[in-house]
Amino acid sequence: MKKIWQLWLATALVAILLTACGQEEATPAQQKDTEKTEAVESAYPVTLTDVTDNEITLKEAPKAIVSMIPSNTEILFGLDLGDKVVGVSDFDNFPEEAATKEKIGGQEFNVEKIISLNPDLVLAHESGLGMGEAGLQQLRDAGVNVYVVKTAMNFEEVYDTMITIGQATGAITEAEEMVQTMKDEVAAIQEKASTVEAKKSVFIEVSPAPEIYTAGNNTFMNEMIQLLNAENIAGDQEGWVKMDPEEIVNRNPDVIITTYGGYTPDATEQVLTRVGFGTVTAIKNKEVFDVDGDKTGRSGPRLTEGLEEMAKAIYPEVFSE
């Protein structure tokens, strides 16, 4: 029992930490023109301080990088540094090429394996500190450069992460391009969404019945719903919560979005035929859609794709091409 408890606590913590957050904002995020810092070819040595206040100095662009979380991997590949990545986590499934890299473990990573890969840079993540801090210290003690990436709470922080990773890897120009592309896409989607006349309410379902969990405030999902000019019926809740099904029915969302279709067959079918949910508008109008959980939950370059999928699900009349 005690073990189960610890596990549960650990899981809860991880779930909370893995969640990226979207701050409630009365107005949509203002597009800030980032001042183009001229990328200098010989930017090295680079000194960076990470979220744990640990300072690392890179004398040259890293040639062998270990990425410990899928979002970091997606950013690295997005910056065209795929060939420099020598190790990834067990959960890495995108891009396909990432799956061919050496695996270093998940929450519990293999310190020896990482050292044996001889990386000049290990990109860890704040969400893994709970279980992995001691392991990271071992890596540092072995003389490996470990940079712990901050858990991004919203799009802005994802952009910051991208720029930082760009600085560390010498791909600053690519990082700025990546961020600009994303900003443009988000702005375009937001523009379209602002034309919506009838605002819809949305319920996000991140795990199927009987344990229905949803994404509340301080999650990417929530931020996306706000960007799309819709309303999250669980917006008054904090992080990932298990919501009382009665209340879901009572709040009566116009759209239900599931994010687990990737590993649960007939995700939308299950929601449509759910007993007791027949009175919900989303089910009456068959507005139940599945979007890719990775695209909406990983703080990487595919977030805009996730946003677009959500947009098409919520306001098909505006966003369908």
Binding site: E108, Q237, P245, E246, N250, P265, V275, G276, G278
Partner: protein, 331 residues
């Protein structure tokens, strides 16, 4: 006798109160009239009949099954620490359920029922294996043998569970959620699925209430009193295991109820199994209905797993009764 009548009246009264409160109180306020007048408020009536009521009923059934099985196991194994999970039934059921979640199994025709069905199968396979193994070792099936066998199989299956948890990624939240126990979102189908097994288990134990009383004096004495010890023992173990398997397969492993409700019942109203079994049955239902009510209202509109609440509420209640009883004895 008078005291016994009072015990039943009081228990049933509290159960009815718990059901009524459980049905009317919740995240969404539902006036009690909706129960007999569904046209009053269509939406409220839908929530009441399809979401809330099956939940209350399932909580009651699971609680009563676990409490009664616990009472039978404690009496039979003469072990105050025995509970419905002693024989490893819950680990077997959990392995069945977690395998379903872990591999994302969905059997055609069963669909959403894949999990409870596989869980039930896991429970029954465990009983059969535990019993056969105990018999193989010791033809007389001594209590110690049964307990030890149960604990060994429990541990083994527990490590299988831990292995799957360690290897799981996306499904982790669901697995943990299931292990912590919940009666949320099961609906009537789960009730109708578990009910026949529960009735069968209940009858098996009920038919052996007198034999349980005799077995308390030891197997030898019981056989002098004309009890067919071996056969009765099998019946009681099977009955308790069926109740446990049915409960675990629909709601996950909910601790504490099966261990403590029988003790409370004995402290309050004596240890005659003719009354301990039905009274545990009634009070187990009450406790779990109340716990579920708390789990879905305390941080409404979010929910807590019911397994978190059972000991939270149960332990202080138990401590209070224990303390009062001791005071009485020493006074």
């Amino acid at each position: 006798m008078n005291k016994t009548v009072f015990a039943y009246v009081a228990s049933i009264f509290v159960l009815i109160a718990a059901v009524l409160i459980g049905v009317t109180v919740g995240t969404v306020r539902i006036p009690i009239q909706v129960l007999w007048n569904p046209n009053l408020d269509e939406a409220a009536s839908n929530i009441l009949w399809n979401i809330r009521l099956p939940r209350v009923v399932l909580a009651g059934l699971v609680g009563s099954s676990l409490a009664m099985a616990g009472a039978a196991f404690q009496g039979l194994l003469k072990n105050p620490l025995a509970d419905p999970y002693t024989l490893g039934v819950s680990s077997g059921a959990s392995v069945g359920a977690v395998v379903t979640l872990f591999f994302g199994i969905s059997i055609p025709f069963l669909g959403l029922f894949t999990l409870p069905v596989l869980s039930m199968i896991g429970a029954f396979l465990t009983i059969i294996v535990v019993m056969s193994f105990a018999k193989l070792i010791d033809r007389a099936m001594k209590m110690e043998t049964i307990i030890l066998t149960g604990i060994i199989f429990s541990s083994f299956l527990g490590s299988v569970l831990s292995l799957m948890i360690a290897l799981s990624g996306e499904e982790l939240r669901q697995i943990i959620g299931w292990l912590l126990g919940s009666v949320s979102m099961r609906g009537w189908p789960y009730v109708t699925m578990a009910l026949p097994f529960m009735i069968f288990g209940f009858l098996l134990l009920w038919l052996n209430r007198r034999e349980l009383n005799a077995l308390v004096f030891g197997e030898e004495r019981a056989s002098h009193l004309g009890v067919d010890v071996k056969r009765r023992k099998m019946m009681i173990l099977t009955g308790g295991s069926i109740l446990t398997g049915a409960a675990v397969s629909v709601s996950g492993t909910i601790g504490f109820v099966g261990l403590v409700v029988p003790h409370m019942t004995r402290m309050l109203w004596g240890s005659d199994h003719r009354h301990v079994l039905p009274l545990s049955f009634i009070n187990g239902a009450t406790l779990l209905i109340v716990c579920d009510l708390v789990s879905r209202t305390i941080i409404s509109p979010s929910e807590l797993p019911i397994g978190v609440i059972t000991a939270f509420i149960g332990a202080p209640v138990f401590a209070f009764i224990f303390w009062k009883q001791r005071r009485k004895v020493s006074a």
